[in-house]
C-alpha cells in the first residue's frame, strides 16, 4: 500500500457522499451546538447569578438567571438525545448509501477485476474501508461544524461586551482547534506511520509463528523467533515512548491553552471593568463562557486523526471503483441464438494478462466443440487451462483471435445474455451465507419446490438435504452449516442443473476432493453434461475415455490433441501425466 498524501479531490468526493443528507446534518449540528451552548449558559449564568446575589437583596431580581440555570439541564439533555438519535440515523443511512454506491460501481468490474482482488484479502479490505467511512460524518464533519458554530457564538456573545475580548477568544479557540491538531499531526505523522509499519511486522511475525509453529519447532527456531519479537517490541517501545510524549504534550497544551484563554479574558476584562466599560458583575460570566466553549474544541484533535483514516480509506476505495471494466456490452447486442444446440469455437486465440511483464498466457489456441460434444482440457498446473475457460465466459477479451458461439463472436452479445447461456461449475464454488434454498434459487428465482428437489436428486444431494432438520431452509456458510467439499460441489451442480443452460463450462470441479468423493461426484457431473455442449478443464485424468476430444495444454499452447486411447498410444505428455497419477496410492 502506498502512503502518498491523499488529494483534496478525494476529500471532496468523500464529502459528496454526505450531500443527500444536508438537511439532517444541519439539524444535528444545530442540536450539537445547543448542547454546548446550554452548558456555557448554565455555567456563565450561574456565575452571574452568584455575582448578582452578592449585591442584590431580593431574590425576585434574579428570577431570569435562576430560570435559565434551571432550564439548561433540560435543554442540554433534550438536545443531546435528539442529536444522538439523528446523527446515528444519518450515519446508518450514510453507510447504506455508501454500500449501494460502491456495489453499483463494483458490479460492472466483476469478474475480471474482482478476480485480481480476491487474492490477498483485498476485498475484505474494501469492506472495512467502507465501514471506516461511516465515521466520516460522526467523527469528522459534525465535530468540525459544531466547533465552528460555537466559535462564532462565543465571539458574538463576547463582542456584545467588547471586541477585544471577542478577538482574544477567537485567537485561543483557533489555536486550540486548528493549530494544536496540526502540530500534533506534524509531531506524530512520521512516528504514526512507523508505528503502523512496525505493528504490522509484529502482527505478521505472530501470525507466521503460530501458523508455522510445527516447522519452527521442528527446526529449533523458537528461541530465535522469541528474540526477534523482543527486538521488534523494543523498537516499538522506543517509538511508543515518543508517541506518548507527543500525545501527552497535546493534552497538556490543550489544558494550557484553555487556561490561558480564561486568564487572558480576565486580564483584558479587569481594566475594562475598572474603567466601567463593562460591568464587573459579568467577570465570572465571561470567564465561564470561554471556559465552557472549549468543550466544542476538544474533539477536534480526534477529528483530524480520523480525517486521515477516512481519506486513506477513500483513496483506496476510489482507486478500486474507478477502474474501467475489462469488458463491456456492445452498443447493439445481437440477439441470443434461439437453438439449444450451441457449438463453441476458439479461433487462433492469444491472450496475456494486462499486468506488465507478464508473458503470453495462451498462444494461438484453436479448437472446436461441436454442439452437444464434450471436450476436455488437461495439462500441468499453470498451463493456462482455467484462463481458457474464463475467456469463454468473457471475463477478459483475447488480444488476438476470436471466440465464436453458434458461429457468432461472443463480443457481439450482451454480457448478461452471453452468461445466461452458460452453466458454470468451478473448483472454488462460491456459496452465499444463505439457506440452501436461497443458494439454489440464485440459478432460477422462480423454481418450484419440485424443481429444486429434482435438481438435488440429480446432483445426488437430496438424501443429505432431507436428513437436515431444517431441510432446504438450512443456513449454510460461515454462520451456518459447514458443507464438505463434495457437498458444496453437488450443490453447485444442482445449481447448474436448475439454470439449465445449453453450454457447460467445468473448471477443476473435483480438485481438492478425496478420491471416493471424486468418483461419486463424476456420476452427477455426467448427468449434468448430457445433452449439453461441454468444455471441461481438469488436471485429474478421470473418465477421459468419455470425452470426444482431449486437448493437452502446456505453457499456453495445445501440445497434443485427440481421444484418450490415441493420446496414451502417443506416449507424450498425456501419457506421462497418466502414469504419474496412477502411481498415487488411494487415500480415503
Amino acid at each position: 500500500m502506498t502512503t502518498k498524501r491523499p488529494s483534496m479531490r478525494t476529500a471532496w468526493r468523500l464529502l459528496a457522499f454526505l450531500r443527500p443528507f444536508t438537511p439532517q446534518i444541519i439539524v444535528t449540528v444545530l442540536l450539537g451546538g445547543v448542547m454546548v451552548v446550554a452548558n456555557m449558559l448554565l455555567l456563565s449564568m450561574a456565575s452571574y447569578l452568584i455575582a448578582g446575589a452578592a449585591i442584590v437583596t431580593m431574590i425576585v431580581l434574579l428570577s431570569i438567571p435562576i430560570t435559565i440555570v434551571r432550564l439548561m439541564g433540560l435543554v442540554r439533555a433534550a438536545a443531546r438525545y435528539g442529536e444522538r438519535l439523528l446523527s446515528h440515523n444519518v450515519t446508518f443511512r450514510l453507510l447504506a448509501h455508501i454500500r449501494v454506491t460502491v456495489y453499483r460501481r463494483l458490479a460492472p468490474l466483476a469478474p475480471a477485476r474482482l478476480f485480481q482482488l480476491r487474492s490477498g484479502d483485498l476485498l475484505a479490505r474494501l469492506v472495512s474501508d467502507v465501514d471506516e467511512l461511516q465515521n466520516l460524518y460522526l467523527r469528522v464533519v459534525a465535530p468540525v461544524l459544531v466547533a465552528v458554530l460555537i466559535t462564532v457564538i462565543t465571539c458574538w456573545l463576547l463582542a456584545i461586551f467588547n471586541t477585544v475580548l471577542a478577538l482574544a477568544a477567537l485567537f485561543f479557540l483557533l489555536i486550540t482547534g486548528l493549530g494544536l491538531p496540526l502540530l500534533a499531526l506534524r509531531l506524530t505523522r512520521g512516528l504514526g506511520r512507523q508505528q503502523l509499519a512496525l505493528r504490522g511486522r509484529v502482527n505478521v511475525h505472530i501470525v507466521e509463528s503460530l501458523q508455522g509453529m510445527s516447522d519452527l519447532l521442528a527446526y529449533g527456531q523458537a528461541a530465535r523467533r522469541r528474540e526477534q519479537l523482543a527486538s521488534w517490541e523494543q523498537r516499538l517501545d522506543r517509538l511508543q515512548r515518543r508517541l506518548a510524549l507527543a500525545g501527552g504534550l497535546q493534552e497538556g497544551l490543550q489544558e494550557l491553552l484553555t487556561g490561558l484563554a480564561v486568564w487572558s479574558i480576565l486580564l483584558l476584562a479587569i481594566p475594562l471593568a475598572a474603567t466601567r466599560q463593562i460591568n464587573s458583575i459579568y467577570l465570572g460570566f465571561l470567564a465561564m463562557l470561554v471556559l465552557a466553549a472549549f468543550e466544542a474544541i476538544a474533539p477536534l484533535a480526534q477529528a483530524f486523526a480520523q480525517l486521515g483514516h477516512s481519506l486513506a480509506a477513500g483513496e483506496r476505495l476510489f482507486s478500486i471503483i474507478d477502474t474501467a471494466p475489462a469488458v463491456s456490452d456492445p452498443e447493439q447486442p445481437a440477439p441470443i441464438p434461439a437453438t439449444r444446440s450451441l457449438e463453441l469455437t476458439f479461433e487462433d486465440v492469444t491472450f496475456r494478462y494486462e499486468e506488465e511483464g507478464r508473458q503470453v498466457t495462451l498462444a494461438n489456441i484453436s479448437f472446436h466443440v461441436p454442439a452437444g460434444a464434450r471436450v476436455a482440457i488437461v495439462g500441468p498446473s499453470g498451463a493456462g487451462k482455467s484462463t481458457l475457460l474464463r475467456l469463454a465466459m468473457r471475463f477478459w477479451d483475447p488480444q488476438e483471435g476470436r471466440i465464436l458461439l453458434a458461429g457468432q463472436d461472443i463480443r457481439s452479445f450482451a454480457l448478461a445474455d452471453l452468461r445466461s447461456l452458460m452453466g458454470v461449475v468451478t473448483q472454488d464454488t462460491y456459496l452465499f451465507n444463505d439457506t440452501i434454498r436461497g443458494n439454489l434459487r440464485l440459478a432460477a428465482p422462480s423454481a418450484t419446490e419440485g424443481q429444486l428437489w429434482r435438481a438435488l436428486e440429480l446432483a445426488q444431494l437430496d438424501d443429505f438435504v432431507r436428513q437436515l432438520p431444517a431441510g432446504l431452509d438450512t443456513w449454510i456458510g460461515e454462520q451456518g452449516l459447514k458443507l464438505s467439499g463434495g457437498e458444496r460441489q453437488r450443490l453447485a451442480i444442482a445449481r447448474a442443473l436448475l439454470k439449465d443452460a445449453p453450454l457447460l463450462l467445468l473448471d477443476e470441479v473435483t480438485a481438492n476432493l478425496d478420491r471416493l468423493t471424486e468418483q461419486a461426484l463424476f456420476e452427477a457431473l455426467d448427468m449434468l453434461m448430457q445433452g449439453r455442449t461441454t468444455l471441461l478443464v481438469t488436471h485429474r485424468l478421470l473418465h477421459m475415455e468419455r470425452m470426444d476430444e482431449i486437448l493437452v495444454v502446456d505453457g499456453g499452447r495445445i501440445v497434443e490433441r485427440g481421444r484418450h486411447e490415441q493420446l496414451l498410444a502417443l506416449g507424450g505428455l498425456y501419457r506421462r501425466l497418466w502414469e504419474v497419477q496412477n502411481a498415487l496410492l488411494p487415500v480415503a
Binding site: A38, L49, I50, G52, A53, A54, M58, I59, R70, M72, A77, Y81, L85, F92, A96, V100, Y103, A107, A110, P111, S128, V202, V204, I206, V207, E208, S209, L210, G212, D215, L217, A218, Y219, A223, R226, E233, D237, R241, G247, G248, E255, L256, G259, W263, L266, A273, S280, L283, A287, L415, S420, Y430, N433, L442, E478, E545, E565, V580, L584, V587
Partner: protein, 587 residues
C-alpha cells in the same frame, strides 16, 4: 484480576502510579487555579481593585496554569507508557507460552482466535490499562477529595454533592449495563452486516454468472435500512440513559447554584467562597462521567485479560525431563516404539493404540493408511508435540522423554506436505534449517533437493520474497523447498509427508530423486502416497484406526493374499495397467 495482570507486568506499576499521582496533583492545581480565579474576580467585582492590585495573583495564576498543564502532560504520558508496557510484556509472555504449548494447541480454527488475542486483545488491554484503570481510581478519589475541600467552604453544597454524587455511578451501572449489552449486540449485528456485504461482493462473479447482480443491489440497500431501523430502536434507550445522566448533573449544578444564590442574598456566605464552590462542582462530576465513557474499554479489556490469563494458565503438553540427558548415544539413529498409546485431550478414543515398530538405522520406512488412521499423530509424537499416554519411544536405547524436546528436535528434519513459508526470501526460508549456513551451502541444499532450477527462474532468484505477501508456489515446489531445508539440516532422522495430490511429471521425478539421495544419509520415515515410494521402502507400516495392522518389507507383504496392503497394491496396479476405454476404476 487487575492484580494478576499487573503481577505479570511489574514494569507498568510505576508509570501507572505516577499517572494516578499526577492526575491527583493536577486536580489540586485546578483547585488552586479556581481559588485564585475566584479571589481575583471577587477583588475586582466587590473590592473594585484594578489590574495592579491583582497583578501578583494573576501572575501566580499563570504559573499554576503552566504547572497544571505540565502535570496533565505527565499524567497522560505515564498512563500511555503503562499501557505500552503491559501490552508488550503480556504479548511477549503469551508468545513464549504458546511456543511451549506447541502446534497442537494453536492448530486449526483456534489459531485465528489466538492471533486476535495477541494482536487486538493486547491493544485492548493497553487501552484498559492506560485509560480505564487510572480513571477508575480518580473517579473514586477525586470526588472525595473535592468533598473534603468544599466542606469547609460550604456545608450545604458538600451535603448536596454527597447525596447526588453516588446517584451517577448507580444510574450508570444500572442503565449502562443494560444498554451496553444492547449496544454490543448491535455492533455484533453491524459486523454481521458488513460480513454480508463482503459475502455479496465476494460472490459477485457467481451473481454475474446467474444474472443476479442487479437484484442484489436492492438487497444491499434493504438490508442496511432494516438494520438502521432495528438499531435505532435499541439505541433510543441507550441515548435516553445518557440524556438522563446529563440532566441529573446539570440539574445538580443548577440547584447548587440557586441554593448558593439564595444564601448569598441572605448574606450567609461570602461571594468568593460561593463562587469557588460553583467553579469546583463540575470538577466533582467530571471523573464520574469520564469513567462512563471508558466503561466500554473497561469491559473489553477485562474480557481480553481473562482470555490471556487462561492461556497463560494452560499446561504444556510435554513434560520436560527432570534429569535430562544432554545428548544421544552416538550412533546412526535407531528409533523404537514400544506399545505406544496416546490420545488427544479432547477425545475419548485413543489416536494410537498399542503401536510398536522399529526404524532401524539407515532404513527407509513407508507409513500408509487412510486419513484419520493416526499417521499425523505418530509424527506429532515423534516431534514431541504431544506425549505418549502409555508405552515408550526409545532412541538408540534412550527413552525419548529423557531428552529435552529442543535438543531432540535437533536430530530430526521435518518435510511436511505443505511446509510453511515465512515472509522473507527463498534463501531465508531454506536457511531456517540452519541459520548459520553460508549462501553456498543453501544453494547446494537446493541443488540436492531438485529445487535449484525453479528457484533460479524466480523473478529475483534466491532473493525472491515468499510467504503470506509474497510469491505463491505450487505444491511440488513447496515440497522441494522443504527438502532443501532437510538437506541443509543433515539430521539423522528424516520425517517426510509426501504430497497426496498428483504433481507435474517433472516435480514427481525431481522429488523421488531427492528422496533417494536423502535415504543414503539418514533414517527415514515417510508418510507415503506413491506406489514407487512404498515399493522402494525397506519396511511398510500400515495404520488403520490408530492400530498398526501390518508391517514388514513390501515384497513380503505382497506375498500374503490376506494383506490389506497387498490388496491395495494389486488394485492400484490393475488400474494403472487398465485397458484404455474400459471402465475399470476400481477405487
Amino acid at each position: 484480576m487487575e492484580k494478576q495482570i499487573l503481577h505479570y507486568c511489574t514494569a507498568a506499576r510505576w508509570p501507572l502510579a505516577l499517572s494516578v499521582l499526577a492526575g491527583l496533583l493536577a486536580l489540586l492545581a485546578t483547585v488552586g487555579q479556581m481559588a485564585l480565579l475566584s479571589w481575583v474576580i471577587a477583588r475586582v467585582f466587590l473590592g473594585h481593585a484594578d489590574l495592579q492590585q491583582v497583578g501578583l495573583a494573576l501572575a501566580v495564576l499563570l504559573v499554576i496554569i503552566g504547572l497544571r498543564a505540565g502535570l496533565v502532560w505527565l499524567r497522560e504520558f505515564s498512563a500511555r507508557r503503562a499501557g505500552n508496557r503491559v501490552k508488550s510484556e503480556l504479548r511477549r509472555r503469551l508468545f513464549e507460552h504458546l511456543l511451549l504449548l506447541g502446534p497442537l494447541f494453536v492448530r486449526g480454527e483456534r489459531s485465528g482466535e489466538l492471533i486476535a488475542t495477541l494482536n487486538e486483545g493486547c491493544e485492548r488491554l493497553e487501552t484498559y490499562v492506560a485509560r480505564y484503570l487510572p480513571q477508575a481510581v480518580w473517579s473514586l478519589v477525586i470526588p472525595l477529595l473535592l468533598l473534603v475541600i468544599i466542606w469547609p467552604l460550604d456545608h450545604l453544597s458538600a451535603i448536596l454533592l454527597l447525596i447526588t454524587g453516588p446517584v451517577i455511578p448507580v444510574l450508570m451501572i444500572a442503565v449502562g449495563s443494560y444498554s451496553q449489552k444492547h449496544i454490543q449486540r448491535q455492533w455484533a449485528t453491524l459486523a454481521r452486516l458488513s460480513a454480508h456485504f463482503l459475502d455479496t461482493i465476494q460472490g459477485l462473479v457467481t451473481l454475474h454468472l446467474f444474472g443476479r447482480s442487479g437484484a442484489q443491489e436492492a438487497h444491499v440497500a434493504r438490508l442496511s435500512d432494516e438494520y438502521r431501523r432495528r438499531t435505532l430502536r435499541v439505541l433510543r434507550y441507550a441515548f435516553l440513559s445518557g440524556a438522563v445522566l446529563e440532566f441529573m448533573t446539570m440539574l445538580a449544578i443548577g440547584l447548587i447554584a440557586v441554593f448558593l444564590g439564595v444564601r448569598l442574598i441572605n448574606r450567609e456566605l461570602p461571594f468568593e467562597q460561593a463562587f469557588l464552590v460553583l467553579l469546583l462542582i463540575p470538577e466533582f462530576y467530571r471523573p464520574l462521567r469520564e469513567l462512563g465513557t471508558q466503561y466500554h474499554a473497561g469491559m473489553e479489556g477485562r474480557v481480553a485479560a481473562q482470555r490471556m490469563l487462561e492461556i497463560l494458565a494452560s499446561l504444556p503438553p510435554v513434560r520436560e525431563p527432570r534429569e535430562a540427558s544432554r545428548s544421544l548415544p552416538a550412533a546412526p539413529l535407531t528409533l523404537t516404539c514400544e506399545q505406544v498409546t496416546c490420545r488427544y485431550p479432547d477425545s475419548e478414543r485413543p489416536a494410537l493404540h498399542n503401536v510398536s515398530f522399529t526404524l532401524s538405522a539407515g532404513s527407509c520406512t513407508a507409513l500408509v493408511g487412510r486419513s484419520g488412521a493416526g499417521k499425523s499423530t505418530l509424527v506429532n509424537l515423534l516431534l514431541r508435540f504431544m506425549e505418549v499416554e502409555s508405552g515408550a519411544i526409545l532412541v538408540n536405547g534412550l527413552p525419548l522423554d529423557r531428552l529435552p524436546a529442543d535438543l531432540w528436535r535437533e536430530y530430526v528434519a521435518l518435510v511436511p506436505q505443505r511446509p510453511y513459508l515465512f515472509s522473507g526470501s527463498v534463501r531465508d526460508n531454506i536457511r531456517l534449517a540452519r541459520p548459520g549456513a553460508s549462501d553456498e551451502e543453501v544453494e547446494r541444499a537446493a541443488e540436492l533437493a531438485g529445487a535449484a532450477d525453479f528457484i533460479r527462474e524466480l523473478p529475483a532468484g534466491y532473493d525472491t520474497e515468499v510467504g503470506e505477501q509474497g510469491l505463491r508456489l505450487s505444491a511440488g515446489q513447496l515440497q522441494r523447498l522443504a527438502l532443501a531445508r532437510a538437506f541443509l539440516k543433515q539430521a539423522p532422522l528424516l520425517i517426510l509427508d509426501e504430497p497426496s495430490s498428483s504433481l507435474d511429471p517433472e516435480s514427481e521425478a525431481l522429488l523421488s530423486a531427492a528422496l533417494a539421495r536423502l535415504r543414503r544419509q539418514c533414517t527415514v520415515l515417510v508418510i507415503a502416497h506413491r506406489l514407487n515410494t512404498v515399493a522402494a521402502a525397506d519396511q511398510v507400516l500400515v495404520l488403520d484406526g490408530g492400530r498398526l495392522i501390518e508391517s514388514g518389507p513390501p515384497a513380503a507383504l505382497l506375498q500374503q493374499p490376506t494383506s490389506a496392503y497387498a490388496q491395495l497394491m494389486t488394485a492400484r496396479l490393475q488400474e494403472a495397467g487398465a485397458v484404455p476405454g474400459k471402465e475399470a476404476e476400481a477405487l
